[in-house]
């Protein structure tokens, strides 16, 4: 367990470092400089700006300095969209909005997905199972931006059923409904499908037959005996689902104009605001990698039968 833990943490650190280094070199390979605008400033001004932001030093020095700063949580300042505003503050202000929507989406996805998966597994091959299969197959094939835009056209002001506001307001709970629903739909289908298959595995076990032979009620067998074991693999999806919800956030936040980090990130990409792009990429990547790490370790703790260190996968 100790060895596995150390190995896994080291691997995660390596990955974060790799992402940071790749980010740094890519951003430096981009031709042109951030000071170019409609009228090019005089060379003296450019030199002064380069000196101010440390862009006149050799690359390895810049990299080392950058990595040191990143470790201290300092991602530099924005140079385009919010001039001279620290990237860290941008992340700290905008990430909570994205996180809130992401967490609500994940919660509804898991809360709806698990019972639906159980239902489909219990009624295997019947109508409920087929409906779930069709819905989840369609859900997997439809890009998230389509789902988001269709829901927007259906339910916001000016649309088919104008019941929800079409400007996002942090204080109004109604404006959270659509983004969270659109963001959570795919994770919901995914959870339901995975729960169904692990539930089918669990229902075929001998102890379920024993419980049935003892005459226990069906609900008790499913929720107490089968679901407890079927839920262990659900933990493993939380890692990839976090990554999915974060990247899906880019699209959903763009469609619903949510003032979150995802929308800001895509805007900064289009505006070529390098420090923001670098800082956000490293921050989000670290977040996802840490989530995967936590999930892996949690899985190991919950189910000691799995020995990941020995190559069991």
């Amino acid at each position: 367990m100790g060895r596995f833990f150390v190995k896994r943490v080291l691997m995660a650190c390596m990955t974060v470092l790799l992402v940071a280094v790749v980010t740094f070199f890519l951003m430096n390979a981009i031709p042109g400089n951030p000071w170019l605008s409609e009228k090019t400033p005089p060379q003296a001004t450019i030199d002064a700006l380069n000196a101010k932001y440390g862009l006149d030093q050799p690359l390895p020095v810049q990299l080392a300095k950058y990595l040191g700063n990143v470790l201290r949580g300092d991602f530099g300042v924005s140079i385009k969209m919010m001039k001279n505003y620290p990237v860290r503050n941008i992340i700290l202000e905008m990430f909570p909005v994205s996180a809130r929507i992401g967490i609500i989406a994940l919660i509804w996805a898991v809360l709806a997905g698990i019972p639906l998966g159980c239902l489909a597994a219990y009624h295997r091959g019947k109508a409920a199972d087929s409906i779930l299969r069709v819905v989840s197959t369609l859900g997997v094939a439809t890009p998230q931006f389509v789902i988001a835009v269709v829901f927007m056209v259906l339910f916001t002001m000016g649309g088919v059923f104008p019941i929800l506001p079409n400007t996002f307001d942090l204080a109004n709970w109604q404006s959270y409904l659509l983004p969270c629903f659109a963001l959570g739909l795919y994770p919901m289908c995914y959870t339901a499908r995975q729960t169904r298959s692990s539930m089918l595995d669990a229902l075929g076990q001998d102890y379920i037959r024993t419980a049935r032979a003892k005459g226990l009620p069906v609900g008790r067998i499913i929720f107490k005996h089968a679901l407890r074991n079927a839920l262990i693999p659900v933990i493993t999806y939380l890692g990839p689902l976090t990554a999915f919800v974060l990247s899906g956030g880019f699209v959903v936040e763009k469609v619903f104009s949510v003032p979150g980090l995802g929308r800001y990130f895509t805007q900064s990409i289009l505006n070529r605001d390098y420090p923001v792009i670098m800082g956000t990429t490293i921050f989000l990547a670290t977040f996802i990698i840490v989530m995967n790490l936590v999930v892996d370790i949690l899985y190991r703790v919950v189910d000691p039968r799995i020995d990941i260190a020995k190559g069991g996968n």
Binding site: M11, A12, M14, T15, L18, V19, V22, T23, L26, M27, A29, I30, P31, G32, T137, L138, V140, A141, T142, P143, Q144, F145, V146, V149, V150, M152, V153, G158, G159, A243, L246, S247, F250, V251, K254, V255, T266, I269, L270, R272, I277, T281, L284, A285, I288, I289, N292
Partner: protein, 409 residues
């Protein structure tokens, strides 16, 4: 069937051998037998004919109705995307100042005049909700299919034949149907090419890693693990963002080299998508191929090839990879929809295929302006995109079941 008497003599669990049912065979008279007809003999021999791997897979695939429907839909989409534009006299980048913002329906010139008049009356009466559609409904005028601009209707009235804008036009007057066709073609080409790139890198890497084994394998798989744990969407976004200006810059300063001409053909933004996809998505392919190679290299024919002095490269090319062909085909086929997905995601965020070229994702992104009025501009590319991804997925699943029945759930 066993009679009741027989059951009495030999109850279940009896250890006596049941000779009577064997002896019963002696009672079969020669007249009970019948000579096989010539056709039956022919069938018997035909059934024994050897069946190749692909013929066998195709036979299994044909039985899978879902996969065959998906294949049919893919064929139709292929026709739609590649042959379709030849039947429509508009180019995908042909703009028109007079035929902008057309719907997929039209009113005749007289009806338009009547609607215009009624609208003026409604406006002066203080009605704010009066739109072209609602007034037309009040007047009992039903729209005719296909979009025509006023000028085009006048030309028709003058006796000229004008090809309709079947799905209307966008803000710049470009025909939406042709754009959807070209966009579908773009998405398909990008999907297939990206999958082939992944195949090339992943299969080579996986086969070398699996065949070499030992320390080389360990190091190579560590690298795979490292790349596998990188959140790929973020890095792909980053790569596409930063590669495009780098490529543009290269084109600007080296316009005459062969590479530049090659890039100019496929376009910087598409090239950067290919590079990003090739760099990030080959890992799962390489893992699958490595697993297969690890199994296969224990087989006797590999030992025989080695004993005959075949080089490692030859063994991989001639013996190992051809024997993983099932896995390779299935994985490549399932890679196509994920590449199409990624391309549409990037295009939607404004990073993918850029104007004047188009793809389904960028059409959906363009449709966001005026989405409430022109919803069909999003729906048409979105439906085509979803149907295409769904068909590729279902066909890939069917192919997997057909090529390797053991994998079937």
């Amino acid at each position: 069937m066993m009679s009741a008497e027989h059951m009495k003599k030999y109850p279940i669990g009896n250890l006596q051998p049941d000779v009577e049912s064997l002896l019963a065979w002696n009672e079969v008279a020669p007249a009970d037998f019948e000579l096989a007809s010539a056709e039956e003999k022919k069938n018997f021999i035909a059934q024994r004919e050897s069946v190749s791997y692909w013929a066998d897979a195709w036979r299994r695939l044909k039985k899978n109705r879902v996969a065959m429907v998906a294949l049919g839909v893919l064929g139709l989409l292929l026709l739609f995307a590649f042959a379709g534009p030849f039947f429509i006299p508009y180019a995908y980048d042909e703009t028109s100042k007079t035929a902008g913002n057309l719907y997929y329906y039209h009113y005749t010139l007289e009806e338009q005049a009547a609607i215009e008049e009624a609208m003026e009356a409604a406006k002066s009466a203080g009605r704010r909700d009066a739109s072209q559609k609602s007034i037309a409904r009040e007047l009992g005028i039903s729209a005719k299919p296909f979009g025509y601009s006023v000028q085009e209707l006048e030309r028709i009235a003058a006796g000229e034949a004008v090809f309709p804008h079947i799905l209307g036009t966008d803000t710049l007057g470009r025909d939406i149907l042709v754009r959807v066709m070209v966009g579908t073609r773009m998405s398909m080409v990008i999907g297939v090419c990206a999958a082939l790139i992944v195949l090339l890198i992943g299969a080579t890497y996986g086969a070398v890693s699996g065949y070499a084994g030992g320390r080389v394998d360990t190091v190579m798989m560590r690298i795979v693990e490292l790349i596998y744990s990188i959140p790929e969407i973020l890095v792909v976004l980053l790569l596409v963002t930063s590669l495009k200006p780098i490529i543009d810059d290269y084109l600007l300063y080296h316009p005459e080299t062969g590479i530049a001409k090659f890039i100019a053909v496929i376009g910087p933004s598409i090239l950067s998508i290919f590079i990003a996809f090739g760099l990030m998505y080959w890992v799962s392919m390489s893992r699958i191929i490595r697993g297969q190679v690890l199994q296969l290299k224990q087989q006797e024919y590999i030992t025989a090839a080695r004993a005959l002095g075949a080089s490692g490269g030859r063994i991989i090319r001639r013996h190992l990879l051809p024997n993983c062909i099932g896995q390779i085909v299935v994985t490549t086929c399932l890679q196509i929809p994920s590449a199409i997905f990624l391309e549409s995601f990037l295009s939607f965020l404004g990073l993918g295929v850029s104007a004047p070229l188009t793809s389904l994702g960028s059409m959906a992104s363009d449709a966001l302006n005026g989405i409430y009025t022109y919803t069909y501009r999003l729906l048409v590319p979105a439906v085509v995109l979803s149907v295409m991804i769904l068909s590729f997925n279902l066909f890939g699943d069917g192919l997997r079941d057909a090529l390797d029945p053991r994998l079937k759930k």
